[in-house]
Symmetry: C2
């Protein structure tokens, strides 16, 4: 009886998903896609990959079923197949953070010093309701447009230094971005504090809020 063979086939299916999660590059692409659909060249540029390489990785993600494609004009947009994939990605990060001490070292090295104050999601929502806190989403416009917290304003970090006049000096500003391992909010909060604003950064970001069902599209 092919019981062993059948079991191997089943576990090979599971392993196919695992295998595709085994490359830093693919995870980076997955992280970007968790923010919203993107074309190959956008992804290649953002992830600093060659187009061929990026395409090859995306195809592996697609063959495994984690992402889907849609053609618009002469571009092909890749998107996460569903929120369960985002949940898997979040769980993977959580396990790494929990079980691999070095993850936290790498996280700190990437995000920079913890010199700005962090605001948790519960606290953030309270402040948005009860005070005139400004929620500043500093992700690229495309990602903001795809989905963001209700009431958030968008100024991409690259533009932030030149658009300080748009921000209030008499209210608290909370910067947010892609999620727990994204630099953008750190950078933004740091810049704003240097410029004399009363600024903090959100601990969570679009990925976590997406999983909690808090986001709205445009």
């Amino acid at each position: 009886m092919g019981e062993r063979r059948a079991k191997d086939a089943l576990f090979a299916e599971f392993a196919a998903v695992g295998k595709v999660l085994g490359s830093p590059r693919r995870l980076e692409l997955l992280d970007l896609l968790a923010q919203g659909p993107r074309s190959v060249e956008e992804l290649a540029a953002t992830a600093e990959l060659g187009t061929s390489t990026c395409s090859a990785h995306l195809q592996q993600l697609r063959e495994t079923g984690l992402v889907t494609t849609r053609r618009v004009g002469k571009r092909i947009y890749y998107a996460l197949a569903g929120d369960d994939v985002a949940a898997l990605w979040a769980t993977l990060r959580q396990v790494a953070q929990h079980r691999r001490p070095h993850t936290d070292v790498a996280r700190r090295a990437y995000l920079g010093p913890e010199d700005t104050e962090a605001v948790g999601t519960a606290e953030l929502r309270r402040r948005l309701e009860e005070t005139d806190t400004v929620l500043l989403d500093v992700r690229p416009r495309a990602e903001f447009d795809a989905a963001h917290l209700p009431g958030a304003r968008n100024i991409p970090v690259e533009e932030l230094a030149g658009r300080l006049a748009e921000l209030p000096r008499d209210a608290e500003i909370v910067a947010c971005c892609r999620g727990r391992y994204c630099v953008l909010a750190h950078d933004a909060a740091r810049l704003l504090v240097e410029q004399g604003f009363e600024a903090r950064r959100a601990v969570d970001g679009a990925l976590e809020w997406r999983l909690a069902g808090l986001l709205v599209g445009t």
Copy 2:
């Protein structure tokens, strides 16, 4: 600035966890470990692996931080590092089931025909409280001892055919095992029904109940 380098290092940490999930053999070991601690040779025998091969896989799991080891006498027991790892494994399976159509084909090929009636966890708990349903855990004794649902009785499948006299003919029997992708309950329920018992099988098993915090140890 080594921003790219730092980001790569962070994502390499995440990918290390993904990479170790990319082998069917390791996933099988992980699945077994989700049932409770086991020695290398037990694992090798159950997963039908050579000892060296098994040891090598276990070490990768350990280096990645997903499992821990403990020495007892001349044996080394491997165990899951925590419930978050079990949750990751469950999420991975769920995504595969959801996003890879072939998973269900492989699942059916392995588990055999769906000729016995399935009982979900909510319904199972209701029946255990309100009727005199017998919950029959058909996993190996070691796994049952490590953790099981309160009130369950243990008869490993191998022994089942010879111990039918211990089971009531006037009450419903629900067979349970490791989880959604385990054959044992299917085999047991099939055998019992053939023998004229009023038998069903639980949809969920130890893995799912562990994550729901329903298990008790010995």
